[in-house]
């Protein structure tokens, strides 16, 4: 039985202060995600996005982590730097990157999701593209608050255009309901707060792994899509992270 040649999986972690227990649980059970996929997929590549933010009046300072590094990796992502590796075949690199995350501040999950969707996924004809988001806060929470929901239809369109299957473990809300209407998306309703400490990660990751293994991909051409929905490709780097250049 043949199968798709590659799965690109981007883990999106809310790295706000409350999420430390979740990150530890993710590390502990990551193999539960890998096991069902192995044997059916010849290549499983990992990506990682962690976003947290702090507000200073109208200004938001973001800290962004990817598998390619910290703040500098964001400019590499939007400069289309071919030298920078945003995916890795080695789960140990993901574990190390998870270790290096330093939860603090507030969340901005839609921005994190958007950065994940801008990742340089493998060819659409041979790659299952998956994003798995973990947060203990509602999608509407965080530094951008009510403005966030206006972006959800654009995020959904981008999910469709990029043929990305979305898994979210986060508290249910109107925004989550909207996101769940995206084709292929699965929202796991979890209790809010305390870093998803009540979540059975072993089962959850196992389910994601099985779903990745079972779903088939369709060929076709790469569609045009809107990059950097929040304008993050034009943000400026400062000492503590990234600053929205329009928010002065």
């Amino acid at each position: 039985m043949s199968s798709a040649s590659q799965v690109d999986l981007v883990l999106v972690i809310d790295t706000s202060a409350s999420m430390r227990p979740c990150i530890n649980a993710l590390k502990q059970h990551l193999r539960e995600l890998i096991q069902p996929v192995q044997g059916h997929i010849s290549k499983l590549r990992f990506g990682l996005v962690g976003v947290s933010a702090t507000s200073h009046g109208d200004q938001h300072i973001y800290r962004v982590e990817t598998l390619a590094g910290g703040t500098d990796s964001l400019s590499a992502l939007y400069d289309n730097s071919t030298q920078t590796e945003f995916f890795s075949l080695e789960s140990s690199r993901v574990l190390t990157a998870l270790d290096n995350l330093n939860p603090s501040g507030d969340e901005d999950n839609l921005l994190a999701l958007d950065i994940a969707l801008d990742h340089p996924f493998g060819p659409i004809a041979t790659t299952k593209r998956v994003v798995a988001l973990f947060s203990d806060e509602k999608i509407e929470s965080g530094v951008q608050r009510s403005a966030v929901t206006a972006y959800i239809p654009r995020i959904i369109n981008k999910l469709h255009a990029r043929r990305v299957k979305l898994f979210c473990a986060m508290p249910y809300s109107d925004g989550a309901q909207q996101l769940s209407e995206a084709n292929g998306s699965e929202i796991e309703d979890v209790a809010g707060g305390q870093g998803l400490s009540s979540v059975d990660f072993r089962t959850l990751l196992g389910q994601i792994g099985k779903s990745i293994s079972a779903s088939s991909i369709q060929g076709g051409l790469e569609e045009r899509y809107e990059r950097a929905l929040f304008g993050q490709d034009e943000w400026v780097s400062i000492e503590d992270g990234w600053r929205d250049s329009d928010s002065n």
Partner: protein, 411 residues
């Protein structure tokens, strides 16, 4: 098998031949069946995705006929890919239909209609993985048989219906129905004929075959992808579109492969839905025994019930016969398979099924054919020159359905 192909070509594809497959090559592919055409609902049986699982197809066809000698069978599509006996399944299904004219409806699955012929006669598929492609595009040592078989399959698939509506409101389809973004066009139809024409438009036909059922309330149609999901509110909206012209109240589908063999979709309350899986192999866990490893202990067939979802019939699997078909000697353990009695004559299996659907007592149809004298014992496909159906006098695998006992498996 090569000698059977001309028979199928002549009897199924030639002009002027009465449609041996129900609604095959009809001018419309989404059709309402009349009360006269349907008759008693309980003679109608539904089979979900088969995907090259010869054993499952054979078992389920025999079960249907065993339960009702004048049965009608609706195969909900996806005959090929994934499993290792796609050609055998094609020939078995068509043979069954040819011997029972007008009693087999094969609804197109996305894997069935995905094939086309590209540059220099190379076969292509819109789906991936598409295991049949590898078979069709192998170097042909059989005087063009593969090329001809592929062309035949494409022609047959193009003539298949996409959905059938029964008089009591049951919609039988592979995937689903036209998604909500298409509904305004249907709502604008001013006559029944115009509405049916809309249902038969290319966009709607695609949705009947490719869309996927989901437990969520609503889904935003994804027109970048063929296999966009829908939710129960979307189905309710479709049912409410033109109920006087196309009165749908519930649905039976394939396309998904529920791990338990069926899915009653608990969120589909107002307009219920049932998805059944025909194949028995475990797509995720195959061992040295190939498809026979971790094979299910129960296959599911569904039988029509007036004004309700079809009833589920559980059919116990004989691992002995399954193993013989796949060339596994009895001593080879089928990893993960529950121990089964060697005699397939007792198959009572009372796994509980949700009470919303009437359950029909289980049986093991294979038990009725143990003593037939001549039947297929193995189909070997180790290499591309070895597409051979071997006759045998053993008592393992039952004869092709309807074949006179003692005859060879050819025309």
């Amino acid at each position: 098998m090569p000698e059977m192909l001309p028979v199928f070509e002549r009897k199924i594809l030639e002009r002027g031949t009465p449609n041996v497959l129900l609604q095959f090559n009809a001018s419309r592919k989404v059709l309402r069946l009349s009360i006269d055409e349907v008759g008693s609902p309980d003679k109608w049986f539904f089979i979900g995705d088969i995907h090259g699982d010869f054993f499952a197809l054979h078992t389920l066809l025999r079960e249907a006929e065993g339960r009702h000698p004048d049965c009608r069978v609706v195969f909900l599509g996806d005959l090929v890919d994934r499993g290792d006996m796609p050609f055998e399944c094609l020939f078995l299904l068509l043979d069954w239909g040819l011997r029972r004219p007008g009693r087999l409806a094969w609804i197109a699955g996305n894997h069935d209609i995905a094939f086309s012929i590209g540059h220099q006669g190379v076969f292509r598929s819109q789906v991936h993985p598409a295991e049949l492609l590898g078979d069709l595009n192998k170097r042909d040592f059989l005087n063009g048989f593969r090329q001809r078989l592929g062309q035949f399959f494409i022609r047959v698939a193009s003539g298949l219906p996409r959905a059938l509506l029964f008089p009591d409101g049951l919609l039988a389809t592979h995937g689903g129905f036209p998604l909500v973004d298409l509904h305004p066009q249907g709502a604008a139809a001013e006559t029944e004929d115009a509405f049916i024409e809309w249902l038969n438009s290319p966009a709607c036909l695609k949705d009947f075959t490719w869309t996927r059922i989901h437990r969520k309330p609503k889904a935003i149609p994804d027109r970048y992808s063929s296999g966009s999901q829908y939710g129960f509110r979307d189905f309710e909206a479709f049912c409410a579109l033109k109920p006087h012209w196309f009165p749908i109240s519930r649905m039976v589908t394939g396309h998904e492969h529920p791990r338990d063999g069926f899915d009653l979709h608990p969120t589909y309350v107002v307009n219920p839905a049932l998805t059944i899986r025909g194949l028995g192999f475990d797509e995720m866990r195959q061992g040295p025994g190939g498809l026979a490893t971790n094979y299910t202990d129960t296959l599911y067939l569904a039988q029509g019930v007036r004004d309700a979802l079809p009833a589920l019939i559980k059919v116990a699997v004989s691992y002995e016969q399954l193993g013989m078909l796949h060339g596994i000697v009895a001593e080879t353990p089928l990893v993960g398979s529950p121990t089964k009695p060697s005699s397939p004559s007792t198959g009572s299996n009372t796994k509980p099924v949700a009470s919303a659907v009437p359950e029909i007592a289980a049986s093991t149809p294979l038990g009725r054919v143990v003593n037939e004298t001549k039947h297929i014992s193995a189909i070997s496909r180790e290499d591309d020159r070895n597409l051979v159906v071997r006759g045998s006098h053993s008592t393992g695998i039952p004869a092709p359905l309807g074949k006179p006992q003692g005859s060879k498996s050819s025309y």
